[in-house]
């Protein structure tokens, strides 16, 4: 069965770009347009999400709050979460880490790198 990956970003073009790469690599991609929406999508798939990739800076609910919200729920304790950042924002990374993120990727990234990292995290 395909693994589900949730990508949360307020930029449609990023969602599509990342989504397309992952779909071509054989994953099933779910999309959320902001933190709040992302959490809703995640919950509607119960525990069938293998990885969450989230932007940090979004309206409604930002990435850090999304991570906090997700980690609150015991069934999502072990879901890997990758953060997308535009520049290496050290403090944001730390905040995300404290909230429970697994790792991060700095935009811009190449498709190859994205797939390598995703593969490393969820195989």
């Amino acid at each position: 069965m395909k693994k589900n990956i949730l990508i949360v970003d307020d930029s449609e073009s990023i969602r599509e770009l990342v989504g397309n790469s992952l779909e071509n690599a054989g994953y099933f991609v779910l999309k959320g347009i902001n933190g709040k929406d992302g959490v809703e999508v995640l919950r509607s798939f119960d525990d069938n999400v293998s990885l969450i990739i989230t932007d940090l800076f979004m309206p409604e609910m930002d990435g850090i709050d999304l991570i906090r919200e997700v980690r609150k729920d015991s069934i999502y304790k072990f879901v890997p979460i990758l953060m997308l950042t535009t520049e290496s924002q050290a403090e944001k990374k730390l905040e995300g880490k404290k909230a429970g993120a697994t790792g991060w990727m700095v935009k811009p990234f190449e498709e190859g790198k994205l797939l390598r990292i995703v593969k490393k995290v969820i195989g």
Partner: protein
């Protein structure tokens, strides 16, 4: 990829108009922190997606802009007019260069440089404390020993330690040693825990930070030690690597002492040569540390529950639904003629369902007019600046929804009307003050529903249109004669006559002779109408009446002999039944209805339908459009009919009655009458004969 790029362009377009809208509001309220945050966030998103879509020039450009707004947001600088102006110019420039991000045009490239310099200049002025210059510690390769003993519970937050080790390996040449905890048995083994640890010899740049960064997520719970063991690349020396122990899960861990011991056994001259090879020029690097966002933007926007669908798909859907409606009409007709109660019930249901389906599909093709309005917001600002006039631009009813095709074809005429208002309507500041009007003129663009139509109004409080002047000019242009008696409304309508322009001097903004007649033609093309009201000294109001959609109309199906016609319901005022004799003796083509004499049009005559078996009774349909009335004479009225409008083809382009055709349920064709054209033609005729 092509498709993705289009999404990027669309998104960029959206972001541009969002930023513009916020900026225009910010001009009025420069302290609104939520607006500033909005601008910043949009720029941030734009930068992120631009960098991903490979246009670094765009991304870098936006980055600089973003930095300015970051400082504004952090209250380090005020949002000054120069900044806003520069941003507007930058947006215009960005709109151009997102299309071709390499900026092939040398003029654009030059402008790009100029704007970049200007923005950097603004940044320098606001230079804060966050720009620091760091001297990189050179790029000499060093060898590090990293020992990593993860916390046993490391798996719990989804971290895969192998990933971290791999990430280290990406930093440079490496040798990895892994170990398993001793004394594990199948009884004590817990699959949820991590029993592995690592020692890594890594050759990397002389900076421990990237290495430590790898462990940023686990450093609190795991044991991590990073030590520089040698100023050079040890792993390239066979004298060193030959001393390393074999990789053994149960082996002893490497220590600093081990390594130093190995190094001491390497001949000195080998070590010196290695150091020389590593001499690389030191470089100075300017690094900008981006300030962290301190403010959290709280969501005030409503959650978005919409999806983006390509308009082609929607058109296709509409087309299919149209066909369905046509087919359903056939079914209904057949069922009415065959008295089968079961069939009748089914046909009724299908009719109801397809009508609902049609309505939903139709609603999907509607878009809010606010996007269009927003565009004019910007235009008004630019033009009024150019003309040196102070203008307040107000919009109302931006949530009014219209067919996308209509909105698209409204852009040009509305633009022209607004330019006219700005150029000719609104007076200069001095003139306004002299007249006792507020210094700032107002242009109001509003939109509302009424009946089956949407009305769009452009209202200004400028000098108004002088009916006497129009009359004068029309006489000198020989459009009317001196003795013609025209109502005020008729006089205003003259401005729509081709070649009629009131502007005394031709300016950049308007008055190039092609004008209101083109506007009127554009509006007529989308089955709309246009009217003018004006009072000298008080202002002008132009009203556009538009249909909601272009593809489906509600009409009345009528018959002349065996030929069917559709009359749009919106234009029908009343229907009467008369005796045919009442018409035949009238040479003026006027019919007396409700104590009023109204010109009439006999379809039998106009369409040259044979005068055989003419029924004694005839039906009169009274059409009304803009206070003009005309009666249309037909044999009989069949009933209401929803017509899916199809174009009639180029041979019929110049005819005067018909706006399209539709296919009836039985497969025959009915022409759809264009009330506006009929009235216009008849009235011209009346005037000529009068």
């Amino acid at each position: 990829m092509e498709n993705l790029h289009n999404i990027y362009l669309e998104e960029a377009e959206d972001l541009f108009s969002k930023i513009e809208e916020s900026l225009l509001l910010l001009e009025k309220a420069p302290d609104d922190s939520s607006l500033i945050a909005e601008v910043f966030r949009s720029m941030h998103t734009l930068k992120g997606s631009s960098s991903m879509y490979g246009s670094n020039k765009v991304a870098d450009f936006v980055h600089n802009l973003e930095t300015i707004y970051d400082r504004v947001r952090g209250r380090e600088i005020d949002l000054s007019q120069p900044i806003i102006d520069a941003t507007f110019r930058s947006l215009d420039h960005l709109k151009k260069i997102v299309q071709s991000p390499d900026i092939p045009d040398p003029i654009d490239a030059k402008y790009h440089e100029k704007l970049t310099a200007e923005i950097l200049g603004l940044l320098d002025e606001s230079e804060g404390t966050d720009k620091i210059i760091t001297r990189a510690k050179g790029t000499k390769k060093k060898t590090f020993l990293i020992s990593f003993t993860p916390d046993k519970d490391i798996f719990i937050n989804g971290t895969n330690p192998i990933l971290l080790v791999d990430e280290l390996a990406e930093l440079g040449a490496s040798q990895v040693f892994s170990y398993m905890e001793k004394g594990l048995s199948s009884k004590t083994f817990d699959p949820k825990k991590c029993y592995t640890s690592w020692d890594i010899l890594l050759v990397a740049d002389d900076d421990v930070n990237p290495i430590k960064d790898v462990f940023i997520f686990v450093e609190e719970t795991s044991k991590i030690a990073v030590d520089k063991v040698f100023d050079g690349n040890l792993l390239s020396l066979p004298e060193f690597t030959s001393q390393l122990p074999p990789v053994d899960l149960k082996g002893k861990r490497l220590t600093l002492k081990n390594i130093q011991n190995f190094i001491s056994k390497i001949p000195k001259e080998v070590l010196e040569r290695q150091e020389e090879e590593n001499q690389i020029m030191e470089v100075e690097v300017t690094e900008e540390v981006v300030t962290e966002e301190t403010q959290k933007t709280h969501g005030s926007e409503e959650s978005i529950t919409s999806i983006r669908v390509s308009s082609d798909k929607l058109d296709e859907l509409m087309n299919q639904v149209s066909e369905l409606v046509t087919t359903q009409a056939g079914l209904s007709m057949y069922s009415e003629n065959n008295f089968d109660p079961v069939l009748n019930a089914i046909a009724d249901n299908v009719e109801k369902l397809s009508r609902q389906l049609r309505d939903i599909a139709f609603e999907m093709t509607l878009i809010q007019i606010s996007n269009l309005f927003r565009r004019f917001n910007r235009v008004t600002r630019d033009i009024s600046n150019q003309l040196g006039k102070a203008v307040k631009f107000v919009t109302e009813g931006g949530d009014t929804e219209l067919d996308k095709k209509i909105i698209d074809s409204l852009a040009d005429p509305l633009m022209h009307l607004i330019r006219n208002s700005l150029d000719h309507g609104i007076e200069s500041r001095e003139e306004r003050v002299k007249k006792g009007k507020p210094e700032k003129g107002t242009i109001k663009l509003s939109s509302y529903y009424s009946g089956a139509k949407v009305y769009i109004q452009i209202e200004d409080d400028g000098r108004g249109i002088d009916a006497a002047k129009i009359r004068e000019k029309a006489i000198t242009n020989r459009l009317i004669s001196k003795d013609d008696k025209l109502s005020e409304k008729e006089i205003f309508d003259l401005i729509f006559v081709p070649g009629f322009s009131l502007a005394k001097s031709v300016t950049d903004i308007s008055g190039r002779g092609v004008g209101m007649d083109v506007v009127k033609k554009n509006i007529l093309d989308i089955r709309g109408d246009i009217s003018v009201e004006s009072k000298i000294g008080e202002g002008t109001k132009i009203t556009l009446g538009l249909p909601l959609t272009l593809s489906v109309i509600d009409g009345l199906l009528v018959k002349v002999q065996e030929t069917s016609f559709i009359v749009p319901l919106v234009d029908i005022k009343k229907c009467f039944e008369i005796k045919r004799d009442e018409l035949s003796n009238d040479f003026n083509e006027l019919i007396k209805l409700e104590d009023d004499k109204i010109p009439y049009l006999d379809l039998r005559k106009e369409f040259l339908i044979k005068n055989e078996d003419v029924p004694e009774k005839a039906s009169i349909i009274l059409l009304e459009n803009e206070n003009n009335r005309i009666a249309v004479c037909v044999d009989s009225i069949v009933g209401e009919y929803q017509a899916v409008l199809k174009p009639v083809g180029k041979y019929y382009r110049n005819q005067e009655f018909v706006s399209g055709a539709t296919i009836l349920g039985d497969g025959s064709i009915a022409l759809v009458l264009d009330a506006y054209k009929i009235i216009a033609r008849k009235i011209v005729k009346q005037k000529k004969s009068a």
